[in-house]
Symmetry: C2
């Protein structure tokens, strides 16, 4: 049996998801004993996983008091969006210089093939997954593992808010309209890349993300109301 996934890894992945979706409430203290029995492991591997998550910015740690969920505030989310802009604009720049015509054409095929899914999809979670998958495919073409790595971390930490945004803010406009705007931004960036128009690709990507960033404050407000409201 290939224990490629060790127990710590299993716990880590699980906790990472829980933290990403704020199953720990912002700033809430994490009880190690309770969590360890819940996860069916002892405190030793649990704490190892928790320490990794601290280093990744999902949790905080206070000596003598233990682990806490990261806080949630508009400022923190704004910072994450800004970091995304930094990373994704540079990614687009690198892709424009490094990706082959063929790779870009493949990506265009991928984009076209998923368009029907975007239109038909009603589940915000799935919609977000598709969007992230597309952004990560572009990222891969940058040939920079470090940028990919940072982007993955940022995406995970901002995902819950993006989900709220998608569900409660953009839900106001008709579905067909919002997804089309999204899709069109994707298409515009990719077309610019194919034409090797770096400036256009970069600035389109920048505005694509910044538009969402500007909704962050409102999204955080809604997120709080969701987190502290009894489940339906």
């Amino acid at each position: 049996m290939t224990k490629a996934d060790s127990n710590v890894d299993r716990i880590y992945e699980k906790l990472r998801k829980m933290a990403a979706y704020f199953e720990f409430k912002p700033d809430a203290r994490i009880n190690e004993s309770a969590l360890s029995t819940e996860l069916g492991a002892s405190r030793t591997p649990l704490r190892e996983a928790l320490n990794r998550l601290v280093a990744e910015g999902f949790l905080t740690f206070q000596s003598g008091r233990g682990f806490f969920c990261r806080p949630l505030s508009p400022k923190l989310i704004l910072d994450l969006y800004e970091a995304r802009v930094a990373i994704e604009t540079e990614i687009v720049r690198l892709v424009c210089r490094r990706a082959s015509d063929e790779e870009l054409q493949d990506l265009m095929e991928f984009l076209k093939s998923t368009e029907p899914d975007y239109d038909s999809c009603e589940d915000p979670m799935e919609l977000l997954s598709m969007d992230e998958a597309y952004h990560m495919r572009i990222a891969a073409l940058s040939q920079s593992n470090e940028l990919v790595r940072i982007l993955e971390n940022l995406n995970d930490r901002v995902r819950y808010i993006r989900l709220v945004d998608l569900k409660y803010l953009r839900g106001k406009t008709p579905v067909s309209t919002q997804e089309e705007a999204q899709l069109s931004a994707h298409r515009v960036v990719l077309t610019a890349l194919i034409n090797r128009d770096e400036d256009k690709a970069v600035s389109t990507m920048r505005h694509h993300i910044e538009r969402r960033r500007d909704e962050a404050t409102e999204a955080v407000r809604i997120a709080y109301s969701q987190l502290y409201v009894p489940a339906d």
Copy 2:
């Protein structure tokens, strides 16, 4: 007797430095028992610190085989420099929009006051510290904690190579010339910021870092020769 800094934090800081300067050789396996006695602690807190460093990219981990030092290759260093470009150009962009005239003037004072130190300084380590301090002061003006955080991590991971670069590559040109080039780049960026010339500030910063990036392959070669040569 838990101090404000817990034992794990102490171990963590120590290991972080050791990893930054490749006191663990690239890809070398880390013996937990030996290291724990060396640090005067048991394996439990040691492993917690090691897990944090894995999450930060200083170490790697293989299930069942333990912890290893991160590898060192030109590609990895290039990636780090590229990530630095991404972060620092966005930082400059934000600073240009957000920093007050007063803050920028203060920074100019700081720059001027350290110029004599740059000229007189013979120690590459100190030179690098001053350079990093300056870059971090700019970063702070961006008001983005996330970008600051990412930049700190990147700086720590690339520091050893920058040191080698400074010591063995740029040592070839006369000291006065190289430090002046460095200083002048700093001054050009800052002047552009004061004039609110975003494009100039961003592109100068970009080239300032990219120039070093282009030396990375050679620097890594030298780094290897230094790491595996008996100490002087």
